[in-house]
Symmetry: C2
Subunit: 369 residues, 2 copies
C-alpha cells in the first residue's frame, strides 16, 4: 500500500442529524458531498456528452471495471492515457472493482478464496479476477477512486453471506497490499446482506483497515426499504465519520434522500440513463412515463420549475413524440433531465444540511420517512 | 398567393465563376449561402440537440412533411406553436413537400392529376396528398421555407419523366394558389430526370412562376456524377440569378463542392447523421469507417486540424470503442463531426467565393472536377 496522496482528504463541513455535508479532495478536483455520480458503464454516460455532463455540473462519474476490462481492455485504456484522457472527462472518476458485474453478468465458473473464474457475457471467453487483478486493472484505468474487489451474495442467504463477507474482508486487505499508485483512493466495501450482526461485523472490520473512504455494497438488490434503512443506520454508526461513505448502486430520488438522512455521502446508479432509454422521467419524488397518450398535446415541461436544459426548452408533447418514435434525442433529453434531477436533489440536500434545515427540506419534498 | 413577406430577399454578395455567395433573409434569421442544411426528419436531427446544432453554427435545418404529417401530425405541431416552438429551434427551418417520401417510402395506390393516394409506411392506413394538402400541412408546420408538391420519376424513364414533369408544373402553380401565409417562402422544384431538354423546359417553366427560390429535385437518385453535373449546368443557366437555388437531398463533401461550382446555394442531406449511425465519418473529401481495427489504439482525432467538438476532445481509439459497442454517444459524436464537416466546407467555399479564390481552394481540397 503506497503512501496516500495528500489530495485524498475529506472535510466534514456540516452535519444535521445524521446527514452530512462535506468535500472530498481528489487529484482531478473537489467532490462536494452529498453527491450523485452518473454511471458511464463503458467509459460513456449513455447518450450524454462530457460537455453536457459539465453543463449539468456533474463532478464525479463512475465507470465499470468489468466492462472496460473486456472491451476495449484496460491495457488499451492505459495506452491511451487512462480513462480521463480516453473518455474526455477531466473531473473525478470512480471505478468499481468488477465484483458486482462478475456475480451478476458473468457466468461464474468457480469461486474460491483466491478469486473468481467466469465466462465473458460477450463472447464466452474464460477470465479470472482476483483482488490483485482487479486493482491492477483499476490502476490501468486510472480513476481517482477505486474499489476493493468484493463478493456480492444473495441478500437473504445467511450462510452464503457469512462466507462471502469473510472472503470480502480478506480480499480488502489483499487489495490494499496490491495497490501501487498513490494518486488513487482505494475504498473498502462493507457486505453482510440483510443481517444486522454481519453488517456490524463487516463495518467494524472494514473501518479498521483505514481506507480513505468506505462503501456499502450489496444493497438495493432485492431487500425491502426498511431493511436497507436499518442496515444503513447500523453500518454508518460504525464507519468513521471522517471518511466519505458511498452507497453503491443506489439512485432513485427517494433512496438518495433516505440515504443522506442516514449519513451517506456518495451515490451512483444507472437509473437516470436507463430509465431515460425506456421513456421514463424522474419527477421530484417519483417518475412519469413520457410515452403516455395523456402527454400528446401537453405543452408543459416534464417538471414545472426544473432548471435542466430539457425542461427549459422542450414540452412533454415533443418529448413524447421523440420517445415514441424511438428517436435518439428522446433518450438524451430524458437522461439530461434525470441526471439533473438527482444532482440537483443532492445539491439541495447539501445546502439544507449546511443551513441546518434538512428536516424542513425533506418534509416539503415529501420523500423522507 | 399572398404578398410575399419582405424578409424573403436574396442578396448576391459575390460570384466567382458560377459559384455564388449570398444571404437569404427569412423571418427566423439570415441564411448565408452556400449553406448545408442538416436533416431533422421527424423534427429532430437524429442524436443531436438544438444546443449542439447552435454550437455547430447550423443556420438552416430541414424537416420532413411526410413523416410529421403521419407522426405526430401537423395539426398537433400547429397546436404546439409550430415546428420552431415544438422542436426548440429558433433559426430558419425548411420543410419538403412530402412528394419525395410518398414516392420512395409510401405504398402508392394511385397517382392522378389531382394528387397521390398512398398507404402509410407505418401502419398501412390510406392517405391522400395533393398540392393543396401539402401546402396546408406545411402551413401548419410553419417552416420558413416550404416546397411545392412534386412528382419524382425514375431518372432514366423518359416517358414517365415527361408526364411527371408536366404534373409537377401544374402542381407548382396550384401550390402558389393554395398558399395563404405570407411569412413562408414557397420554392418551386425543377424536375426532368437526366434529360437535358426536359430539364431546360422545366427550369424555364419554374423560373417563370417567380418563386422566391428554386429547387432542383430528382438528382442524386441513381444517375452518374457526370449526368448530375450536366443537369446542374443546364438548369442553373436558366434559373434566375437573383433567387437562391437549392439542390435537394445532396450532401457529400464532393457533391457540395461540385454543386457550388455550378451555382447551387443550398444543400440538404441525411448523410452526415445516417453515416454516423453506421460508424462512418467524413474526412475532408471522403469518408472513413471508424469501427475498423486499425483505429483501435489510434490517439489521433478523426481529422487532424478539424475544429469540431468531437475532434477537439476524442481519439479515433475512443470513437471506435463507442461505435463498436453500439453506444449512443458514438452516433452523436460522429454526427457532430459529419455535420461540422459539411457546414465548415460550405463556410470555406463562401469565404473563397467572396475573396475570388474558389479555384485555388478547390484545387487544394482536391475534390472538384
Amino acid at each position: 500500500m503506497p503512501a496516500m496522496n495528500k489530495h485524498f482528504t475529506f472535510e466534514l463541513l456540516a452535519q444535521d442529524g445524521q446527514a452530512r455535508a462535506g468535500v472530498f479532495h481528489t487529484p482531478h478536483g473537489d467532490i462536494p458531498t452529498p453527491i450523485f455520480a452518473p454511471v458511464g458503464t463503458k467509459a460513456t454516460v449513455k447518450g450524454v456528452t462530457p460537455a453536457q455532463l459539465h453543463e449539468l455540473e456533474s463532478q464525479l462519474i463512475l465507470a465499470n471495471t468489468y466492462h472496460l476490462y473486456l472491451r476495449p481492455g484496460d491495457e488499451l485504456v492505459a495506452e491511451m492515457g487512462g480513462l480521463h484522457a480516453f473518455m474526455g472527462w477531466d473531473k473525478p472518476i470512480l471505478t468499481d472493482s468488477g465484483g458486482f458485474q462478475v456475480f451478476s453478468l458473468g457466468d461464474i465458473n468457480a469461486i474460491d478464496n483466491e478469486g473468481v473464474t467466469f465466462k465473458s457475457h460477450i463472447d464466452g471467453s474464460m477470465h479470472r479476477l482476483t483482488p490483485e487483478k482487479s486493482i491492477h486493472i483499476q490502476e490501468n484505468l486510472g480513476a481517482d477512486i477505486i474499489m476493493a474487489f468484493d463478493e456480492c451474495a444473495e441478500p437473504y442467504d445467511r450462510a452464503y453471506n457469512e462466507k462471502a463477507m469473510t472472503r470480502t474482508h480478506a480480499w480488502a486487505k489483499r487489495c490494499q497490499t496490491a495497490q501501487t499508485r498513490s494518486d488513487q483512493a482505494l475504498f473498502g466495501i462493507v457486505q453482510g446482506g440483510i443481517f444486522p450482526d454481519l453488517r456490524a461485523k463487516s463495518a467494524e472490520y472494514i473501518a479498521a483497515l483505514d481506507f480513505p473512504g468506505n462503501a456499502i455494497g450489496g444493497l438495493s438488490v432485492g431487500e425491502t426499504k426498511a431493511e436497507m434503512h436499518e442496515i444503513l443506520d447500523i453500518v454508518n454508526a460504525i464507519l468513521p465519520a471522517d471518511k466519505p461513505r458511498y452507497l453503491m448502486g443506489v439512485g432513485t430520488p427517494l433512496d438518495i434522500v433516505n440515504g443522506v438522512l442516514r449519513g451517506v455521502d456518495i451515490f451512483d446508479c444507472v437509473h437516470p440513463t436507463r430509465l431515460a432509454r425506456h421513456k421514463a422521467a424522474f419527477t421530484r419524488t417519483g417518475r412519469m412515463n413520457v410515452g403516455k397518450a395523456v402527454y400528446a398535446n401537453d405543452p408543459r415541461p416534464l417538471v414545472e420549475g426544473c432548471a435542466c436544459y430539457t425542461c427549459q426548452n422542450f414540452s412533454r408533447a415533443y418529448l413524447r413524440h421523440l420517445v415514441n418514435q424511438k428517436e435518439m434525442l428522446g433518450g438524451t433529453l430524458l437522461s439530461i433531465h434525470n441526471i439533473h434531477t438527482l444532482l440537483q436533489l443532492a445539491r439541495e440536500l447539501r445546502e439544507a444540511i449546511i443551513t441546518g434545515t434538512v428536516e424542513e427540506y425533506v418534509r416539503e419534498l415529501g420523500t423522507g420517512d
